[in-house]
């Protein structure tokens, strides 16, 4: 999500599932939607069957997605920057980009400040001591008016720097890095290049096959750059479509169960930010062009103050900076890897896990088990026993040696409570409570609220360290120990404290403490008229429910922001407001207002008016960012090898991996001599991570752990399907059966034969099938992306032996 926010201004799938049917070309990378999102995949098939769209699948494995694709490219895992880079080079070199769109909607013409450099794999601004870049050094040239200088022909224009950066990504180089034969690549490049025309649209679909790398953010940004160049952002059938893998990962990212943000993607303050002014100076973007709307930056204070007012009520006043001092200010990264690193170092006392099992899901499971053993206490809230609740008696662990105190609290299921799920496409869909809680099970939020209220009572009774925020946090629910989700939904929406009315839009939020909103991007989903996420005007009556015929179904649920179905849709129309393709309109200017989808733009801003805002309203540029300093590892994406790789980087062998990967010491990386094969992990259709080990029908369909081994490697090793094999990395091993397959073939990488081994993730030591105690993540490396700190689950080195 970091990468889309750094490029377009918001971190979310830009279009929605049904919209994919409008595409002419579907580029699928780092995803296997036919198996991992089968029902969403129907919209790709509709595009193919109904409008003859072409589907290109680049993946290490030939999957069911590849089976129906028009072209399958076997790619080495983690090298998609080179693949997209080659496509970008093809588009730039042959001037196939959508020129009018690029000028209207991207920062191609922005002049970059002197000092920018890229040499032998290193950008300017590197601090060798701290092993980080100072991204502020990737700046624009500013004119006497204080705004960025525009000159698309300047040698340091973004477009020209981009040409220089990408001219190294020739088809030969793409082949050397990715293993995709040059002729296959060129065939795909030709198809992609054709979508730079106004009447053609390409979509890019991806999932965690792009995010789970030390270069994950740049893998995604590469696709985003290609989409901007081809004019495919903001348009129906276009976009960057991130397929989220859990029912409500989107909603709970929006609501900031993430160390680095507050609800609505406000940044968590840093220690040096001692008041709201300091905080805004570092967090809220400033406009870089006179008619950049810079909506987020300009309104940041309103969103923050409304949040503080929601959380601290009467204790948040103008004269105490709205209790800004109550917000915790982390000194350093506090994401997943850092939680377990702190535990390994004995600095973490307690961990609460809810519907998520650390033992199975994090990288380097053996180290995670050690980390859990180091805790004073662990509280697992779940419907089923998990590999975390049972970690103290995991195979190989002697329970009497584990001093961690463990609680397992029975939680209700999704079907035993109401509330909303936000899907990948940002549709907030309310669900009804179908069943009463089973037995003694309680809702997660009741457990948390009750625990919090008991902590409050302890502080009231005994005092303690800095009790004020615990005592002052608002709990304005009929029963603070058992809040209703409907009450919380209203709190998230927010209200005008003067009138007491719920707000219909975040445009009404104020920075003076007279409004509340728990998450500004959800403001408007629950206005006075009721909860719009409950709406169900669906496809049985398309004439009434889909007035544009574009499949927006505006009265089915509600999507953030403001029920907009396609983000950045101003860019779906030309400078005059006419849709680039009238057969697939997003929004259109009718002479007085914008019509169609809910405009991502002021509703009555006349495109003929020179003063009207630039198209990307969320960025300080007003434009989509081809060049961006919103990422930690470079303003343009660059191919770096995974931290464990079978080859040196053909582009710059002395800077093979990214210099800014988030490494924890001592590292546990293996060498290519000991571990000669590339491995990648993935899901199967029949399982959802680990919880489905408790579902009889699904366990019956996929009963046993296995690894997929390429046929040629299997012949070399004398391995047949069904044989027991040991797969090992520097960190651990699996002993499971082999499935010998031609789905994984050998690749030629920089002249060297490279094999990839496939590892489904779903098994552990808890579930219906006992004895399946192999954790796939025992193999994966404990290292994170520089910007997002996402671990490198998808590319690492292993060895394989027949047992």
């Amino acid at each position: 999500m970091v990468s889309l926010a750094a490029t377009f201004g918001r971190g979310a799938m830009t279009n929605h599932w049904r919209d994919i049917r409008h595409a002419d070309l579907i580029l699928i990378n780092g995803a296997n939607p036919a198996e991992a999102h089968p029902v969403g995949f129907q919209w790709m098939m509709r595009a193919k069957l109904d409008r003859g769209a072409k589907m290109i699948h680049a993946d290490p494995r030939f999957t069911r997605t590849s089976a129906v694709a028009d072209k399958y490219l076997r790619i080495r895992t983690g090298t998609d920057v080179a693949y997209f880079g080659g496509l970008i080079n093809h588009v730039l070199r042959n001037n196939l980009y959508h020129d009018e769109y690029v000028r209207m909607a991207t920062n191609a013409a922005f002049v970059v400040a002197e000092g920018y450099s890229f040499d032998e794999g290193m950008f300017n601004g590197f601090d060798p001591q701290r092993k980080t870049y100072n991204a502020a050094e990737w700046a624009y040239e500013t004119g006497p008016d204080g705004f960025v200088v525009l000159d698309i022909d300047h040698p340091r224009s973004v477009l020209n720097l981009m040409r220089a950066h990408y001219n190294r990504y020739t088809p030969e180089m793409v082949e050397r890095i990715t293993g995709i034969p040059r002729t296959d690549f060129e065939e795909v490049a030709k198809l992609v290049g054709e979508t730079g025309k106004p009447d053609k649209v390409m979509t890019i679909v991806y999932a965690v096959g792009l995010t789970h790398h030390t270069t994950g953010v740049q893998l995604i940004r590469s696709g985003a750059l290609l989409q901007l160049l081809l004019g495919n952002m903001g348009r129906p059938g276009g976009g960057m479509n991130a397929e989220r893998g859990h029912a409500n990962i989107q909603g709970n990212t929006d609501h900031a169960i993430s160390w680095d943000i507050l609800p609505g993607y406000l940044r968590i303050p840093a220690p040096g930010q001692q008041n709201i002014d300091d905080y805004l100076a570092r967090s809220a973007s400033k406009k870089l062009r006179p008619n950049s709307l810079n909506f987020f930056g300009e309104n940041y204070r309103k969103f923050l103050v409304s949040l503080l007012k929601t959380w601290y009520g009467e204790s948040a006043r103008a004269d105490n900076d709205f209790a800004f001092h109550h917000l915790p200010k982390p000194a350093a990264d506090a994401s997943w890897l850092s939680i377990f690193d702190a535990a390994l170092r004995g600095r973490m006392e307690g961990l609460m896990l809810s519907g998520m099992t650390a033992t199975s899901i994090g990288p380097d499971s053996n180290q995670v088990l050690q980390a859990l053993s180091n805790l004073k206490w662990l509280c697992v809230m779940d419907s089923y026993a998990t590999t975390s609740s049972e970690f103290w008696r995991a195979p190989g662990i002697e329970p009497s040696n584990v001093q961690t105190e463990v609680l397992l609290l029975p939680a209700t299921h999704w079907i035993e409570k109401d509330g909303s799920f936000t899907n990948s496409g940002r549709w907030v869909q309310w669900k009804e409570q179908v069943l009463p809680p089973e037995g003694e099970a309680r809702h997660d939020h009741w457990m948390l609220a009750e625990a919090f209220m008991r902590v409050r009572t302890l502080y009231e009774r005994d005092g303690g360290t800095y009790p004020s925020p615990v005592l002052q946090l608002t709990m304005p629910y009929r029963d603070p120990r058992r809040p209703e989700l409907d009450e919380i939904a209203q709190e998230i929406n927010g209200r005008d404290l003067g009138t007491g009315q719920r707000l219909a839009t975040f445009a009404a939020l104020k920075d003076d403490g007279t409004t509340t909103s728990g998450d500004w991007i959800y403001c408007g989903h629950y206005p006075e008229s009721g909860n719009l996420a409950k709406r169900r005007d669906g496809i049985q009556d398309p004439a009434r429910n889909d007035p544009t015929g574009m499949g927006f179904y505006p009265n089915w649920a509600w999507s953030w922001p403001l029920n907009r179905r396609v983000l950045y849709n101003r860019a779906s129309a030309d400078p005059a407001g006419k849709p680039w393709d009238p057969t697939r309109p997003g929004i259109a200017w009718d002479g007085a207002k914008w019509t169609g989808d809910v405009p991502d733009y002021p509703a009555t801003a006349n495109p003929a008016d020179q003063a009207s805002p630039l198209p990307f309203i969320m960025t300080s540029e007003g434009m989509g960012r081809l060049f961006s300093n919103g990422v930690a590892d470079g303003p343009f994406p660059e191919h770096y090898e995974p931290v464990e790789s079978p080859v040196d980087n053909p582009l710059h062998p002395h800077q093979s991996a990214t210099p800014v990967a988030h490494i924890y010491l001592p590292d546990r990386f293996g060498s290519r001599r000991e571990f000669p094969y590339v491995a990648t992990s993935y899901r199967l259709t029949e399982h959802e991570h680990y919880v489905t080990q408790h579902v009889d029908q699904l366990v019956a369909l996929q009963p046993e752990a296995f690894v997929e081994v390429p046929a040629e490697l299997a012949r070399e090793k004398g391995i047949a399907t069904g044989d027991a094999v040991r797969v090992s990395s520097k960190r651990g091993k699996l002993e499971v059966r082999a499935v010998v397959t031609s789905r994984l073939g050998p690749l030629t990488i920089d002249g060297k034969k490279v094999y990839q081994i496939g590892i489904p993730i779903h098994w552990g030591f808890v579930g219906i099938n006992t004895g399946q105690h192999w954790l796939a993540n025992a193999l994966t490396p404990f290292v994170g992306d520089a910007s997002s700190r996402t671990p490198e689950f998808k590319a690492f080195l292993v060895n394989i032996e027949k047992l």
Binding site: Q42, G245, A247, N248, I249, N252, I257, S258, W259, L262, P263, Q274, H325, L327, P328, K329, P330, A331, A334, W336, S338, I339, M348, G350, L353, G355, M356, C379, M381, W392, E405, L408, A411, H413, W414, E416, K431, Q433, V434, L435, G439, A441, H445, A449, A451, F452, V455, T457, Y459, P469, A489, I492, G518, R536, W556, H687, E688, V695, Q697, L698
Partner: protein, 190 residues
Amino acid sequence: MFMDVSRRHFLQLGAVGVTPLGFDLAEATKVKQRLRIEGATVSRTICPYCAVGCALLAYTKKASDGHVELLQIEGDPDSPVNEGRLCPKGASALQLAISRRRVESPMYRAPGATEWAKVSWDFALDKLASNIKASRDRTFVTTDGNGNVVNRCEGIAFAGGAAFSSEEGYLATKLMRGLGLIYLEQQARV
């Protein structure tokens, strides 16, 4: 001739009357549904697995003793997302909902113990609250080495939420930040 009839066409034929098989499929379907879900309450929910967000219809009946029985879960044919379709996981959602494998009561495992002990909610929540308070008091930093007010709890982490309702997730964030937590994570990264 039958082999050339697509499934969709087949169903359409069924809808107007007699199918190529020679019987009225619509009637047959109706009878089956009558047996299964006649008089049932229909509720709208959403699939708990991936993030496509398939809409589900859940059929329940309340017995005279108050027990609510879940009879059937199927795709909602009115949804613009799934149009009634489900994958193997969604189609077996009933087995996730109703299971003999659920955790039955709060469980406690003391340091070094080799077995779980069944405990009351009151015991479990008191234990959790006192652990939170003790760890918070021990690891809370009000001012850092540079004199900055930071008000953070460094010794407790919370992770979870990808299966929460959004409103639960929001409350979790609010409560954890209220306690001063900085280590917060869900499944966006892992």
